[in-house]
């Protein structure tokens, strides 16, 4: 057998379009939505958040005696009724779980090798995945928490204690919930890159986000610092309009510190994921 004559021009190479990041975003958009379970989980999660708000509103109405309660206390009650701890837990599970599966799913199936052979620029690939993930969860959380807020306040308005987005603190309350979703997703993403196993990374994400806060109290300076730096505690501080009626603490969390904590978790997760995926053998 002899080698066939070389073709006049070797295919490929010549007409390569410039590598644009938005092509990667579009690719990851397709990847994100092409699993049937993803829209199902998002829809179910949103439904639970709204249903919880409706139940809470009924509960609040049942226990409300007109004329009682200071105005700022009633504002907090109205806000908590639209997005409670249960809602936050659902956000944590949905966002953290989906985030964890973005890369753990690829590692578990071996798809990561196909992805990296198609996009050798690992940093760009990871950023595209992270952007699509946080973008989707931003929209999802805004829609779910926004709807919960709207429905809840509409029900409370029957007794005149409903709020609008324009009321003091309402926007911060909603923004904190949406930011929580985005941060949880990125924490999940980082745990997924580290653990690489689907089930283990989901469990790991829940351990970090959900159980870590319960280990630290405000008793000592350092435990308070650790506690306030955790995403869930930071969200809770931001969702609390005033600490005036909260349990007194020697080391109260600050609003600015809580925003910073959430932002740092997002950045640190992304950085960790990029460092690990760039160094690892696949």
């Amino acid at each position: 057998m002899t080698a066939p004559a070389r073709a006049a021009s070797v295919p490929g190479d010549a007409a390569e379009p410039r590598a644009r990041f938005r092509d990667l975003l579009a690719a990851e958009w397709i990847t994100f939505w092409s699993l049937r379970s993803t829209p199902a989980v998002l829809l179910l999660g949103a439904a639970v958040i709204v249903a919880t708000a409706v139940r809470n509103a009924r509960d609040t109405l049942d226990h409300y005696v007109p004329g009682t309660g200071r105005p700022d206390t009633m504002r907090q009650v109205a806000l908590d009724s639209s997005f409670s701890m249960v809602g936050a837990d659902v956000v944590l599970l949905v966002a953290g779980g989906l985030g964890a599966l973005v890369l753990a799913g690829e590692y578990a199936s071996g798809r990561i090798r196909t992805s990296l052979a198609a996009v050798p620029d690992r940093c760009a690939l990871l950023l595209a995945k992270a952007l699509v993930l946080t973008g989707v969860l931003f929209a999802w959380a805004a829609a779910a928490v926004g709807t919960a807020f709207g429905v809840d306040q509409a029900l409370l308005s029957d007794r005149g204690i409903g709020l609008s987005v324009a009321d003091p603190g309402a926007l911060r309350f909603l923004a904190a919930a949406v930011l929580l979703a985005m941060v949880c997703a990125l924490v999940g993403l980082a745990v997924g890159v580290l653990v690489r196993h689907s089930a283990a990374s989901v469990v790991g994400t829940i351990l970090v986000l959900f159980f870590l806060p319960s280990l630290f109290t405000d008793t000592y300076r350092w435990t308070a610092d650790v506690s306030h730096a955790l995403p869930f505690t930071a969200w809770r501080r931001l969702a609390t309009l005033s600490l005036a009626h909260a349990r007194p603490s020697d080391h109260p969390a600050t609003v600015a510190g809580s925003w910073t904590a959430l932002a740092l978790w997002a950045l640190a997760s992304l950085l960790l994921a990029v460092l690990v995926i760039r160094r690892r053998d696949h």
Binding site: M1, T2, A3, P4, A5, R6, A7, A8, S9, V10, P11, G12, D13, E16, P17, A19, R20, D23, L24, A26, A27, E28, I30, T31, S34, L35, R36, S37, G105, E106, S109, G110, R111, I112, R113, T114, S115, L116, A117, A118, V119, P120, D121, A124, L125, A128, D281, H282
Partner: protein, 303 residues
């Protein structure tokens, strides 16, 4: 063109790939052969930048593959048919890959039709057979119309028709001037596919040569002759420049002359022949002989 120079990969105390150097040229199909565990997949992964070499370099088209922002237009690769997510459809899997590399979607339909998955493309990959997954992996490798193609054990799970189709495809891709590098642990698979062979064992290069040269290495190639007077015939044949070694039951194992010439010489010397069998050089034998010393998992007693 793929150039591998002094490529080495160590995992702790084990050396998977040991100072491997070879070049895979365009315009022909190069087989990448070695027993299980020889380091073929590790080498291919290093070529693709998936694994970092402990030493040495691997370049594709003169550049380390990992330095390219996007890969599909430079190298099409099928490493493992299982490197897909079972929850997606074949079409959405390819579309996501294509989109990231700015490959138009109509190209996705074209490669799906080419590999014969046109009707199965809308089904989830989880329900595909191994052969269908191999076809999907080949489709993904073809997406970017790349000048270099890598296939790791692409024939696994394919039916005979599929095997024939893949062979034809590889030959066509090579004839178009592309570099085609195909790994296998079965010599027989390469016999009708490759023009050139790179053979490794225990991570080391054993051979890097044309198929013909490789076959000639098989020491047992030649002709078996049976005659009543092997001693005399051997002298005649040696005089004609052949080597003739006594075999079982008075037979001679002859190399260096073909069967026809041996018959003529025997007739001229007046020696009646009782048997004359040409044994063509078997690539399988050459491969087994060459790699016998480098088997990681030798089966008991068969060596």
């Amino acid at each position: 063109m793929i150039e591998v120079t002094g490529l080495t990969k160590r995992y702790g105390a084990t050396t998977a790939v040991d100072r491997l150097s070879f070049t895979v040229r365009p315009g022909r199909v190069t087989g990448f052969l070695g027993p299980n565990g020889a380091g073929k997949s590790t080498t291919l992964r290093m070529v693709l930048g998936l694994q970092e070499p402990t030493g040495g370099t691997a370049t594709v088209g003169g550049r380390p593959f990992r330095s390219r922002p996007r890969g599909l237009r430079h190298v099409g690769a099928l490493l493992d048919a299982g490197d897909v997510h079972g929850g997606r459809t074949g079409r959405s899997h390819l579309r996501a890959l294509a989109r990231g590399n700015a490959v138009p979607f109509d190209r996705v339909e074209r490669v799906l039709a080419e590999v014969g998955l046109g009707t199965a493309a809308g089904r989830r990959i989880g329900g595909y057979s191994l052969g269908m997954r191999q076809r999907l992996g080949i489709a993904a490798a073809l997406l970017g119309d790349p000048p270099v193609l890598l296939f790791d054990e692409p024939l696994n799970g394919l039916d005979p028709e599929g095997v024939r189709w893949v062979r034809g495809l590889f030959r066509r891709l090579a004839a178009e001037g592309r570099t085609v590098f195909v790994s296998s642990h079965m010599m027989a698979e390469m016999e009708h596919t490759a023009d050139h062979l790179v053979v490794i064992g225990r991570g080391r290069l054993i051979a890097d040569e044309g198929l013909g040269e490789f076959a000639a290495r098989a020491g047992r190639a030649g002709v078996t002759v049976r005659t009543a007077e092997p001693g005399r015939l051997a002298a005649v044949l040696r005089a004609a420049g052949a080597t003739a070694l006594p075999g079982q039951g008075g037979s001679l194992a002859v190399t260096g002359l073909d069967a026809g010439r041996i018959g003529e010489l025997a007739l001229a010397a007046g020696l009646p022949l009782q048997g004359l069998t040409a044994r063509t050089a078997s690539l399988e034998e050459a491969f087994m002989e060459l790699t016998a010393d480098s088997l990681d998992h030798p089966s008991g007693g068969t060596r």
